[in-house]
């Protein structure tokens, strides 16, 4: 019942909604703004579903803020509302128009009413009248090529900023750029108004000469402000602190940097490629050596500028020294004032002949940005005394780097020439190599199996039959042999005959035992198929043997022979 009622109501609602004519309208939260401020635009669709086409908004940048839908029932009539919300950011000042926005509903295009927006210029940045703005500057606008300069992007905000992201990050065409990850934040008063300033710093090194333009950086920020829209119970906002988020797009001015070309370097010298302000020093850990000993020359280049590009300087080692360069060790810091640090180049020096030597100073030619010219620096020279080796060795080689340093002189071995290895000249190259054919393989696989089968067969053949019948049969035969043996006493003779008879009868029955009565023997023989007469005869023979045995009566030779003969015949018949 309830289910039927629900379906009926729903069908009624659907029919009512679909019967309505679709309407669209657009409203903004304000129509006077400054450049960079955002306007909230709502496109409301009633009585249908459709997406607003904002491609005609050329004077504004639009950002979708999502959609909401709702059912309304007024005076018994229901309607559905679909609200699309956008943030519009004017791109220029002047009297701008939000044109009629087309919305397609069920294949039919509906238009909103155009809205006029007055966009005024922003006040100057240093007026303190803006709530939020950005600036960009460079430390010098006429650097030398290779000279590092500092690009500083600053966000000033006097109101709360909820989120900020680069819509268009600064593009540094013609520069090598590195961002300093630590962003600096501080407070600054501008024309009597306090702003929070956030600095983003990039170190730029121009890689080409001429006039280079740093394009504007565009930052999108979300501002948390008190709501401007009229709403019921607005007086309660002060109590509940109602705020809303507005989007602003902020843009820096483009910057122009004139990069100067470096003048020609001094003739006959080798420019190190360093531009900035640098120093050089050198140290030698031992000056008194033996032939074959190693001493380490450490050359340190330090300063501010492109220190990471510093190449290993030429080490003016005497001819009788072997040199082994180690991997450079560098310590580089990137800070708001640029790149600085030091690079240490260690070289192991190994004298191969005794004598007095002088290691000339290591020199460095760099471009000094303060002086605007090349400077040549020299480290200390060293005098080295080399005495003969204690071992008298003359051919010295070194495989180890500077003392205390990991062995880093090893290199990946590369081919210095390519050729093939020689032919094989042994006469075994003429021997036919016998390969195992499939047939031979199968045969060899079968051999162990056949061996296994033969083993099983042999086991079966040699296995003893330990069944009761077999045991009793063997016992009967053995007893007959004992009875037939010469010199056997009468008692032993009779016991053996009795045992032979009993064993033979029980053996046929496949059972074990040592004695039988007359009746047991007879019935046993009948069971195995003997006729009554034969069974009686055999049973009587057994009884006769037993009676001789227990009576102790002496047996003559004829009687012994008779008993033996009859017993043998009976046993043989039984064992057949």
């Amino acid at each position: 019942m309830i289910r039927t009622l629900t379906i009926t109501i729903l069908m009624f609602l659907i029919a009512t909604v679909s019967a309505q004519a679709a309407t669209v309208r657009a409203v903004v939260d304000r129509n006077r703004v400054m450049v960079g401020e955002s306007i909230r635009l709502q496109v409301t669709v009633e009585g249908g579903e459709g997406e607003a086409d904002l491609s005609g908004l050329t004077d504004f940048k639009s950002v979708s803020r999502g959609s909401t839908s709702s059912f309304q029932m007024v005076n018994g009539r229901t309607s559905r509302q679909l609200i699309h919300e956008y943030a519009l950011i004017p791109l220029k000042a002047g009297n701008l128009t939000i044109p009629a926005i087309p919305v397609t509903i069920d294949g039919k295009v509906h238009y909103t009413t155009p809205i006029s927006i007055q966009v005024s210029e922003e006040p100057p940045v240093d007026s303190g009248q803006r709530d939020v703005y950005v600036t960009a500057s460079v430390s010098t606008d006429s650097p030398w090529v290779g000279q590092q300069i500092i690009y500083t992007f600053r966000l000033f905000n006097a109101v709360q900023v909820a989120e900020a992201k680069f819509q268009k990050a600064p593009a540094f065409d013609g520069f090598h750029a590195e961002e300093i990850e630590d962003h600096k934040t501080y407070r600054k008063v501008v024309n009597g108004r306090e702003f929070i300033v956030t600095e983003v710093i990039f170190i730029l090194v121009p890689v080409k000469t001429g006039s280079l333009t740093i394009e504007p950086a565009v930052l999108q920020v979300g501002l948390v402000q008190r709501t401007r829209r009229p709403r019921p119970f607005a007086g309660m906002d002060a109590f509940f602190g109602r705020t809303e988020m507005t989007t602003r797009v902020l843009q820096t001015d483009p910057l122009t940097v004139n990069v100067r070309e470096l003048p020609k370097g001094p003739m006959g010298t080798r420019f190190s490629g360093l531009v900035g302000r640098f120093d050089i020093s050198a140290s030698l850990d031992k000056t008194d050596l033996q032939v074959g000993d190693s001493t380490t020359l450490a050359v340190t280049i330090s300063g501010r500028g492109n220190i990471m590009d510093a190449m290993a300087p030429d080490v003016p080692a005497p001819l009788n020294f072997k040199t082994y360069a180690d991997n450079p060790e560098e310590q580089i810091q990137k800070a708001a004032d640029g790149i600085s640090g030091s690079k240490v180049f260690r070289t192991a020096l190994v004298p191969v002949k005794p004598g007095e030597y002088r290691i000339d100073p290591v020199s460095l030619i760099y471009f000094d940005v303060d002086q605007g010219g090349y400077r040549t620096l020299s480290a200390t020279a060293f005098d080295v005394h080399v005495s003969p080796s204690a071992t008298g060795a003359t051919d010295i080689d070194v495989f180890r780097g500077a003392p205390g340093q990991p062995p880093s002189l090893k290199k990946r071995v590369e081919f210095t020439g390519r050729d093939i290895l020689p032919i094989k000249d042994g006469l075994d190259a003429l021997e036919k190599e016998r390969r195992l054919s499939l047939l031979a393989f199968i045969g060899l696989m079968a051999v162990p199996f056949l061996g296994f089968v033969l083993t099983l067969m042999a086991m079966r053949l040699t296995r003893k039959d330990d069944s009761p019948g077999r045991v009793m049969t063997d016992r009967a035969r053995q007893a007959l042999k004992t009875a037939a043996a010469d010199g056997t006493s009468d008692a032993d003779f009779l016991s053996a005959l009795y045992r032979a008879m009993v064993s033979a009868i029980l053996g046929r029955q496949n059972s074990m035992g040592a004695s039988l009565t007359w009746s047991e023997a007879r019935s046993g023989l009948l069971e195995i198929g003997w006729d009554t007469e034969a069974a009686d005869t055999a049973a009587r023979l057994l009884e006769e043997i037993e009676s001789f045995n227990y009576s102790g009566q002496a047996l003559d030779a004829d009687k012994r022979a008779d008993l033996l003969d009859r017993s043998r015949q009976t046993v043989r018949r039984l064992l057949r």
Partner: protein, 250 residues
């Protein structure tokens, strides 16, 4: 009555003399080939070694020498063909592997992997061990298995059972691999492209459409064989006909 004994002895002597003479002749040709190679006369070395191979001497070292001689003579296709043949006999020879790898660097066509990486991992023993090694391992394991079973039957040592199950599993794996290798050797034929450049065509005539071009030393699979042509497959999607003289079957 015993007259057959001198006749048999005579025949044996003649056979021995003939065999010995043959061996001496082969040794002389081989030494000539070696000397020619060492003096840089590669064509003479090739001639000598080919003469021995034509006599049916099936030896990996001889094939290796032929590969070397052809490589020195700038005939990459035939060099790789003989190296491939040598690999069937002496797959673990370090000299052969070094020279083979070097020759492969001279080929122009991208080598095609013969088996997927997953197969190479799953059946690693097949790809890591030579066919002969697998055969002998299978034979050894088979012998151990049946001997163990016989011991179990005689001595009733039940403790042996887990070991026997393991040996049985290994025997099965290696025997199956050996059997697969035999079938593969018979059923799957591969060839090496011999000339510097060969047009692979859609049919067996010179006017058939050229489908693609292969270069000396490229290894291909032989799908079919006609009187003068071979249907070869380079990759899954590249198949066509080449003249038999342009591809040497390994």
């Amino acid at each position: 009555m015993k007259s057959w004994i001198p006749i048999a002895a005579g025949l044996l002597l003649v056979f021995t003399i003939l065999t010995g003479a043959q061996a001496t002749e082969n040794a002389r040709v081989f030494m000539d080939g070696t000397a020619a190679y060492n003096s840089g006369d590669w064509p003479a070395a090739i001639k000598a070694f080919e003469q021995l191979a034509a006599k049916g001497i099936d030896n990996g070292r001889l094939f290796y020498n032929l590969g070397n001689a052809y490589l020195k003579n700038d005939d990459l296709g035939r060099a790789l063909l003989w190296y491939e043949r040598a690999l069937k006999h002496i797959p673990e020879d370090p000299d052969l592997n070094f020279n083979y790898d070097y020759a492969l660097t001279l080929t122009k066509d991208e080598p095609v992997k013969q088996a997927s990486p997953i197969l190479r991992i799953l059946f690693f023993w097949k790809y890591q061990l030579g066919a002969d090694t697998i055969r002998w391992i299978a034979l050894g394991l088979n012998a151990v298995l049946w001997v163990s079973l016989a011991v179990l039957a005689i001595r009733k040592k039940h403790l042996l059972r887990p070991s026997i199950i393991l040996v049985g599993a290994a025997t099965l794996i290696f025997s199956a691999t050996a059997a697969f290798n035999y079938i593969e050797a018979v059923r799957i034929k591969r060839a090496i492209i011999l000339p510097a450049e060969v047009a692979v065509r859609s049919g067996f005539s010179e006017t058939a459409t050229q489908l693609f071009v292969l270069h000396a030393g490229t290894k291909v699979k032989v799908e079919r064989q006609s009187e003068e042509y071979l249907l070869i497959r380079y990759t899954k999607d590249k198949i066509g006909w080449v003249k038999q003289v342009d591809a040497g079957i390994i």
